[in-house]
């Protein structure tokens, strides 16, 4: 448990933090109508009578949304309810076309579950429920507030944790893990920039042995880093506020916005007498039932999750924790890695080529790029690694070949020939380069004879240079050593 010692009083405070995370499900269409669930369209072009709340229009549930929501529940080890229902959450706002949100109140589709952090600490989930997203209100363009309903009706799952977190790092790690899992199972893109993941933080601080104190809700957190910064700020702010002898300065139950520019939180609205949302069962939507067979099928079809893969990579392939973690954190990368290893049989080399070369090449192209867009299949990478292992290609020439593979989409074997990078094994040619490299190197020769082996590195470098990287460095080394002995 994290303690925070007040600089002012020396008192020990304990932060209590819970997260509410909304993720848009990766369906083709909205939750209750056939409009496209796609980001970035012209405003109000993905809207129909249903999602614009035209009088008389009715919702019909998207089966895929339930399927993805159930995958999320199974992946997080939640208890899926045998039946659940939709409720209307009634409130007024310009981005809420029906005057109510279709959500789940007292019978969410799943409860419980959780995520284990690296420390072994488990962050428990209270529940996950399905609901439809609101539209978007834009306040900074002209004298009016402008409303775009493209987002209205997009399926969301809201996952709510128990107040189990005690510091900003745990929140950051929890979000990272949640995102990995949801991306892995294809439930959500979890892209905060596009708003497909949104996180609200409930936070309070208390003294040892105390009940919970007043809770504050933080909103407008548009990156994991901001979540972290806002929590750190808010813990300090609340401690100082509690320690203020003036009681009117104490924290109040409210919603605060994080101001990214100034790095502070500020009051958005005080919770009047808590909202009265008048939830009641939506008479337009029949109950949802989930059978044991359906759940079993989803469980069976679920991919191996990132935590399990990390552990397996470390054990089965003897990868470093770092490599295992990098490779396992994205499903596409992990699947690619495993396929490449199946081809090459060389896990460590494969891991190095992916983490050092392919991922940086991908990142250079921008955050959206997928590994497969580089045009190097896992089989092709495996072939290249085999060429190196067989001595056909040097490691440095390998880098050139891989770059050319990305550029041209050709296979390594073809490029080695085209680029003339095939490693030269021919002894006559190698001897010629070595002899040339030794000319005028009497000092180095003497050093090597004295047992200073590292002086040979410079000589091998000369050979590689002369051969334009095609010489087999191991063979060149043998020949150089033989010549040095023969020299005297």
């Amino acid at each position: 448990m994290t303690r925070v010692i007040s600089k002012q009083s020396g008192q020990t405070w304990f932060p209590v933090i819970g997260l509410e995370v909304h993720c848009q499900l990766r369906t083709r269409t909205k939750l209750f109508c056939g409009c496209a669930n796609e980001f970035g369209a012209e405003p109000n072009t993905q809207v129909c009578p249903v999602c614009s709340g035209q009088p008389g229009a009715l919702p019909v549930m998207n089966s895929r949304a339930l399927e993805l929501a159930l995958r999320a529940a199974v992946a997080l080890d939640c208890d899926v309810a045998p039946w659940s229902k939709f409720d209307r959450k009634n409130y007024f706002y310009c981005d809420l076309p029906k005057g109510y949100q279709i959500s789940q109140f007292d019978r969410p589709y799943c409860t419980g579950g959780g995520i284990e952090l690296a420390s072994g600490k488990r962050i428990a989930l209270t529940r996950i429920h399905l609901e439809d997203d609101a539209g978007k209100a834009i306040h900074d363009r002209g004298p009016d507030t402008l409303v775009d309903l493209n987002r209205a009706g997009i399926p969301l799952i809201e996952s709510v944790t128990e107040p189990d977190l005690t510091n900003a790092d745990e929140a950051f790690e929890y979000l990272t893990r949640l995102k990995e899992i949801f991306q892995y199972i294809g439930a959500s893109d979890c892209d905060m920039e596009k708003g497909s993941l949104r996180c609200d933080v409930n936070i309070s601080v208390r003294l040892e042995g105390e009940e919970l104190r007043t809770k504050v809700e933080l909103k407008n957190l548009n990156s994991f880093r901001n979540v972290k910064a806002a929590i750190d700020y808010e813990i300090q702010r609340q401690i100082e506020a509690w320690e203020n002898p003036d009681e009117t300065a104490h924290p109040v139950q409210e919603t605060r916005l994080y101001d990214t520019n100034r790095g502070v939180t500020r009051t958005m609205r005080a919770k009047e007498d808590a909202h009265d949302y008048r939830y009641f069962p939506d008479p337009d939507l029949p109950e949802l039932h989930v059978s044991a067979e359906q759940l079993e099928r989803i469980r069976r079809e679920l991919p191996e999750l990132p935590a399990a893969r990390r552990a397996r990579y470390a054990e089965q392939f003897e990868l470093s924790e770092y490599d295992a973690s990098v490779l396992a954190s994205e499903r596409e990368v992990a699947d690619y890695f495993e396929l490449a290893v199946r081809g090459s049989g060389r896990a460590k080399e494969t891991a190095n080529w992916i983490t050092n070369e392919l991922l940086s090449a991908r990142n250079e192209r921008g955050p959206e790029t997928k590994l497969e867009e580089l045009g190097v299949s896992a089989e092709a990478l495996a072939e290249m690694i085999e060429l190196i292992a067989a001595g056909t290609l040097s490691k440095s020439a390998g880098r050139k070949v891989l770059a050319a593979m990305i550029e041209t989409g050709k296979r390594a074997g073809v490029l080695v020939v085209e680029l003339g990078l095939e490693q030269v094994q021919d002894t006559g040619q190698l001897e010629e380069w070595c002899r040339a490299a030794l000319v005028g190197q009497d000092k180095a020769i003497a050093d090597i004879r004295d047992g200073q082996q590292k002086a040979i590195g410079a000589l091998i470098g000369q050979v590689m240079k002369a051969s334009a990287g095609k010489a087999d460095p191991a063979k060149a080394r043998e020949i150089l050593l033989r010549f040095v002995q023969e020299h005297g």
């Binding site: 129909c48 009578p49 614009s52 709340g53 035209q54 009088p55 008389g56 229009a57 009715l58 919702p59 019909v60 549930m61 209307r88 009634n90 007024f92 706002y93 310009c94 076309p97 029906k98 005057g99 109510y100 507030t145 409303v147 009265d276 008048r278 939830y279 009641f280 008479p283 337009d284 939507l285 029949p286």
Partner: protein
Amino acid sequence: MRDAHGLRQSILAGERTVLDVARATLASIDERADLNAFLPVEAEPILERARELDESLARGAAEPGALFGVPVALKANLAYEGRELTCGSRILSGYRPPYTSTVVQRLLDAGALPIATTNMDEFAMGSSGENSAFAPTLNPWARDYTPGGSSSGSAASVSAGIVPLALGSDTGGSVRQPAALCGVTGFKPTFGRVSRYGLVAFGSSLDQVSPFANSVRDAELIANCISGADPMDSTCLEHAPIQPVERANLKGLRIGLPAEAFGDGLDASVRQKVEAAIEALCELGAERVPISLPHSEHAVATYYVVATAEASSNLARFDGVRFGARQEGDGSLAGMMGATRADGFGDEVKRRILLGTHVLSSGYYEAWYGRAQRVRRLIHDDYRRAFESCDVVICPTSPTPAFRLGERKADPVAMYLSDVLTVPASLAGLPALSIPCGTVSSDSGDANLPVGLQWIGPALGDESLLAAAKAFQSNTDFHLATPPLRREQAGA
């Protein structure tokens, strides 16, 4: 125009064109403008549709639909793309929906000629038509009397012979009660047999699009066209459309007579007519079965709690953002919404929104809404038990004949009690119809007013309910009575 079947036949036989029918209908709407049955009519699209139908017939394009050329009046809460959809409210004045309801689409598919929209209690909230934001509809039988509601204009337009068929919506009796008070047939199918897509919601778990006609046979004809599965409505059943079933006579039909529906609140003259009709039923072979629906006394309360709760949420979308008339208020968003709704909604709608908000609000939910949902099940179960011993429940549709305009307007409780005999079947989701069973003299002796006989069937028993009622009408002539002010049939 009284007979939809006959009208279609005469068109197909070349005795008249659809355009003739359209013109005659528009003319009679004008002539009976005194009734306020219709909201402002846009003639051109109707004539255009009539011409298209005539052309398609001349071309011999396809098998003419079951409602070919038949004018059908639409309650002003059914979306028809491009046509004004006001729901009898100021808040929607000028609103033209960008889509068409399933039922109107099916009418079009059946070759029908949808006619202008009919007047109604605002958002279907009312039992007299007096809550229309425009004008109260008058009863064709006696113009000082209400036609009932909320589908007031649809009932009056069929009663007055302006159209042979009309669609209304029945939430707690909004088709059956005006059918009774106007002396026509009104049929509410089992909840879920007709799509609600495009019917502006009042009480979503109760609303059902329901037809008016001058005979059960015509009601069945249009019910067959509009019913059936709809992927756009999750609460619409997979069942096939309502099929016509014939029944030669009423021998052995067990009619359940609920003691609760024949209690003290029943007008003596209504009682007399209903009992005479029951006698007629028995002469045709039906057998009386005394039954009890013990939770009936709570039906009105249950209904108003459930319906207003749902309405308070359904009407939240009228906020001045995306459609309808906007009032700026104090210039803030909340102020704009508050002013728009204050100005746009009438008193009864406000009363029900507030009541519905109250029964759902924290601290009152369990006492009112939560309880009403449970009592609803008790009412539902009463019927299930009753149908173990009878085939159809027979009772009056309304405890009184038509009442005078203004008589109950000031007293919401008295108005709500007008629905006492229709809300139980609504809560249970059962098919029910009201057919005429004679007329009675008004208290002051100045008018003859129709009395309605209500038939309630078991869930999904729409076909056999209609078959029995058809058999009754083929042996009686109650349904042939017409109001004294009625003009002669157009074009006949």
